[in-house]
Symmetry: C2
Subunit: 226 residues, 2 copies
């Protein structure tokens, strides 16, 4: 199934990745993983220590390279533009690309892993929290700084929200989720190139939109009263 040679470790990782994405981590047993990977049940504990260790390794294998790509991309752009603001399109593209490459390359997890990513970090929160505070946060701050410079009129809070929206659209868009299956013929969820071509103008326009005039959020304005 997977790429070329496949060591026991790699086979376990690939089988686990697919099963986690299909049924969730909690619903996937080590027995099923090792059966699919055609390795012995005890191999998981030998190579990864525990199921948690396996989960961590599944994420690490894919996200490590992406984070490094992000960092290299933003550094290249900073170097290329010096003190001038980097165009929003280039910032966005340099962020979207690495994730898209992941989604379009079976050897990097393909849409299987993207789906695992999009399904959120609930089941793997412990690992994500560790990952975030170590590398991810740092990279994201670089991107945020570049966007602040590119969009100086935008209030910082608004930019934060838009980054959140961007991430949602990106992950959901690249995992070819729920929606696209319903519109058969209109859009092909497997067409990652198309997804990127569609994503970038959508995100750039959203980032460039005029900031909202915010209403006063007094104590009584909320709709929370039943």
């Amino acid at each position: 199934m997977s790429s070329t040679h496949s060591s026991t470790k790699e086979r376990i990782l690939s089988a686990a990745e697919r099963l986690f994405a299909e049924a969730g981590i909690g619903n996937t047993s080590l027995r099923l993983i090792t059966t699919r990977a055609r390795v012995n049940l005890a191999a998981v504990n030998y190579h990864f220590g525990s199921k948690d260790g396996l989960v961590e390794a599944v994420y690490e294998r894919r996200l490590g390279p992406v984070t490094r790509e992000w960092l290299a991309n933003i550094e290249n752009l900073e170097h290329e533009y010096g003190d001038r603001p980097i165009p929003v399109e280039r910032i966005v593209e340099s962020f979207v690309r690495p994730v898209a490459r992941l989604a379009s390359d079976e050897n990097r997890g393909g849409r299987i892993f993207t789906r695992l990513l999009a399904q959120g970090y609930t089941e793997a929160r412990q690992y994500f929290d560790k990952l975030f505070s170590s590398q991810y946060q740092h990279v994201l701050d670089r991107y945020r700084q570049s966007l602040r410079t590119a969009l100086p009129h935008l209030p910082p809070g608004t930019l934060c929200w838009r980054l959140q929206f961007l991430l949602g659209a990106l992950t959901q868009g690249l995992c070819g989720g729920e929606l696209l299956r319903l519109m058969e013929g209109q859009a092909d969820p497997n067409d990652t190139e198309r997804a990127v071509d569609e994503l970038i103008p959508f995100l750039v326009a959203g980032l460039r939109a005029e900031a909202p005039r915010l209403r006063e959020s007094g104590p009584s304005t909320q709709g929370a009263l039943a």
Copy 2:
């Protein structure tokens, strides 16, 4: 219907909803649910038949009303505008509002349920597939038709992709996920009103963006060949 008093059934639903969102469905046992709900273990099987039945009921309780609101909103707009195109802002707002109300109202699940929603349908796929083909798809088609009329220059395929992005940004934006916690002080994940105020211009601008010029996707360009 249900607000303060809590029947056994409601208490189970609320406890399950929270635990599912926090740890995933597969990682949450009936024993833990019933302990938290302060009801007897056997009550789940009595009221819902099985754990699967409970999962289904957890989603149904929240999504049913939202779907009905969506339908009412789009019908009101269609009636108000007759044959004239409905402004994109109004379409988007009428779609975002019901989900936002859900997120801001503890009695409707609040951000707990939104998070469960955003974490995807992997673990509850069977239920989602049933729900989608019954009600959801119909409502979404109405919205898509309205957007086609409002944005006649947009290729249908592009609109489909943008709807997918919209859903991603919406669900991730309203569950106050991963990202916002990292930027303390800059944005408050709990501020649902703010989220809506930020979401709408972002989404409207994205939908209104110029359609991308697509590159040729010849047979050899994709990496997805199996």
